[in-house]
Amino acid sequence: MSPVLTVEGLAVRYGAVEAVRGVSFHVDPGETVAIVGESGSGKSTLAHAALGLLPAGATVTAGRVLLRDTDLAAADDRELRHLRGRTVALVPQDPGASLDPVMRVGPQVAEVLEIHGLARGRAAALRAREALARAGLQPEQVADRYPHELSGGMRQRVLIAAALAADPALIVADEPTSALDVTVQKQILDHLTALTAKSGTSLLFVTHDLAVAAERADRVLVMRAGELVESGHPAQVFDAPRHPYTRELAAAAPGLDGPTARAGSTTGAPLMVLEGIDKTYPSRGGRTVDRPAVDSLDLAVSRGRTLALVGESGSGKTTVGRLVLRLLDPDTGRILFDGADVTSARGSRLRALRRRVQLVQQNPFTALNPRLTVEALIADPLHAHRIGSSADRRRRAAELVEVVRLPADTLHRRAAELSGGQRQRVAIARAIALDPELIVLDEPVSALDVSVQARILDLLRGLQRERDIGYLFITHDLAVAREIAHDVAVMRAGRLVERGPAATVLSEPRDPYTRALLDAVPDPRRHRPVTTPAHP
């Protein structure tokens, strides 16, 4: 059989920048092909080229994209419209923003049928309901809803339903689950692969996660800086990568096998202790009973150790971080630091506490004052606490830049001139400027590419060894937790469901929720044979 999609020597440029260079590959009928790469690798550009939907300003400078027999680069607008949705369909990246917010969900699924004249009116609505049911939703509950009334996972199912509604030959899924919680991610991917397998639809699957790709694809393509550096069977790509970049990616990919990185410990004097903490945010409506963000929580972080606080969005883990930093006040309970009760510390006592407890935030792009140079940013805590002369502070900033392994010339730059990884290093330098005893790290690597992630985690481990700092490491990612944590605490809906040494929790979880989380972490060495889906 001839391939559904053939890409031959494709080159795409945005102005002066070549986003894709000389890429060739094909997707056979019924095949699942994964394109793996970090941000800026050109993987999304490839996905959009397959839909004939390159953004304005992008030009195809060489090569061809053949969908069945039609050259998309040469096709006119009408031909392209005829193919989109009917022959090739898209499952987009961000389900939260990919549905028209003012239109009910059912008509949005039916629209693809109407556009292509496959059904109209009630017949289209009926077929939309069938499609929703195939995607694992209950149509009578969902079809008349607006997108904002559905959860992220449900919205992605709606989008899958719309993509499959017109029975396309190829589905392009562009990071379809990166905006979802891990447990939901797994369900969605399982369902998507099962559906495409059942209907014999080909799947072109774009992801930044080599493990996810290796787990589910028939073939894996690795992109780097616009070029295809490796392609092959997942087992080969992951276990015996030929290209050095793939090797680096495979090594950096956090997984769950092998011994845990660091031995757990329950000894050592606790540095920061939370006792019986409750915290409820006042609700806006005032009618419903508020669910507490944090519910009778006990937690302790030891000096020189890392406690990973793991949970999905809405679990309350970020609230805990803010409580520890005393950016929020608990409703009840006590917070002890180094034996002293700091629950209601104010003024100079609070400032004294903040010399010893520091913070690294999630998004390095908003965590740095855009008007200050790196030098001023790093020296800011010293300045705030009036430590040293301004020459001393400059010297210290230069030292710290070296400690976090940034080039010395970054000192006089501003945040906007730095990459995400570099910015996070600046934030870390700022956090250690005061030689704190505890640092709260709120998802410090989740906004970064995997290879950068691995280097930042490495830096954090090194700093901890040298300086005996305690970390409260907040993350949604068990694999990342495994890389850095001595102890793990798992949160769900404001409550701690499990806690213990990392080795124990991650290998023999007692709580079913922890098990579900662990199960959801992709395992490249457990290639899932595609099976017929159990119909919902």
Binding site: Q93, L325, Q358, A367, D380, R430
Partner: protein, 285 residues
């Protein structure tokens, strides 16, 4: 039609279509040149038009544009070009004065509300709401009823109309910056409230002020000339663009240039100020 990517790849910053890039650059250059000319007309009008804007030759009244009188003459034989050039001083100084007062008062109120919060915020913003609820020109007219006509009164009356908008933008800017992660980080770094405000909040909150001032200048020119047209600004025979349009009204049928030319000066200046305000990058309203 352009449709940007869901998540624009790093290589393709959004909004770099050809329309975005080339057109406005030319527009910006033209705007800058025009504002420069206006500045010359304000500060050294005799350099551009050496004649006397008030002296007319009755024999040469209502002459159409010619090589001798580029833009013609008015009903008492004064050179229109000279009057428009000299009129820039009155119109622009009134507008600039209005913006200066408006920006000063408006940003003071906005910053006060945003930084103080609580009851101060509520009270200040309710007052701003009221200023906002009365259309600009009516507010100005009410003040002129009391203050009487004249450029100072017009400047003050127009400035009051711009306070509400400026105060709102700055307040929301302060609130946005105050809840930003980098201010939280600075708080955790141990910054005292005063230093937090002065070093981390204020400098970032006032970024849009310059663009806002340019935008307000454009609005103020329109308001000043409208009040001048209605007869409340500079009194004749002083040249003021709005008043000149009004006086040309009587010869509308015979001397089109008397209304058209001063109006074009207003349009060009407002256009230029609006274009320059876009330099701030962020759209303010």
């Amino acid at each position: 039609m352009t449709v940007a990517l869901a998540k624009a790849p790093v290589e393709a910053p959004s909004g770099t279509g050809p329309r975005r890039r080339r057109g406005p650059r030319i527009g910006l250059a033209l705007a800058a040149v025009w504002l420069l000319v206006v500045a010359l007309a304000v500060f050294v009008p005799h350099l551009l038009a050496p004649g006397d804007p008030l002296a007319g030759v009755p024999a040469l009244k209502l002459q159409p544009p010619s090589a001798h009188h580029w833009w013609g003459t008015d009903e008492v034989g004064r050179d229109l070009y000279t009057r428009v050039v000299h009129g820039a001083g009155l119109t622009m100084s009134t507008a600039v004065l209005a913006v200066a007062m408006g920006v000063l008062l408006g940003s003071a109120l906005g910053l006060l509300a945003g930084l103080a919060g609580g009851i101060v915020d509520v009270v200040v913003m309710r007052v701003v709401d009221v200023l906002f609820a009365v259309p600009g020109i009516l507010l100005s007219l009410a003040l002129i009823t009391v203050l009487g006509a004249g450029t100072a009164a017009v400047a003050f009356a127009v400035s009051v109309g711009s306070i509400a908008g400026i105060a709102r933008v700055l307040r929301s800017e302060v609130l946005k910056v105050r809840t930003s992660p980098y201010v939280e980080a600075a708080q955790v770094s141990g910054n005292r409230p005063l230093r937090l405000t002065l070093r981390h909040v204020l400098p970032n909150a006032v970024t849009p002020l310059l663009a806002l001032a340019a935008l307000e200048l454009a609005a103020a020119i329109l308001s000043v000339s409208a009040l001048g047209f209605l007869g409340y600004g500079a009194q004749p025979p002083a040249p003021e663009w709005g008043a000149m349009v009004a006086s040309g009204r009587d010869s509308l049928r015979t001397a089109w240039w008397l209304t058209t030319v001063p109006g074009l000066a207003i349009v060009a200046t407002v256009l230029a100020a609006n274009r320059v305000s876009l330099l701030g990058g962020r759209r303010l309203r």
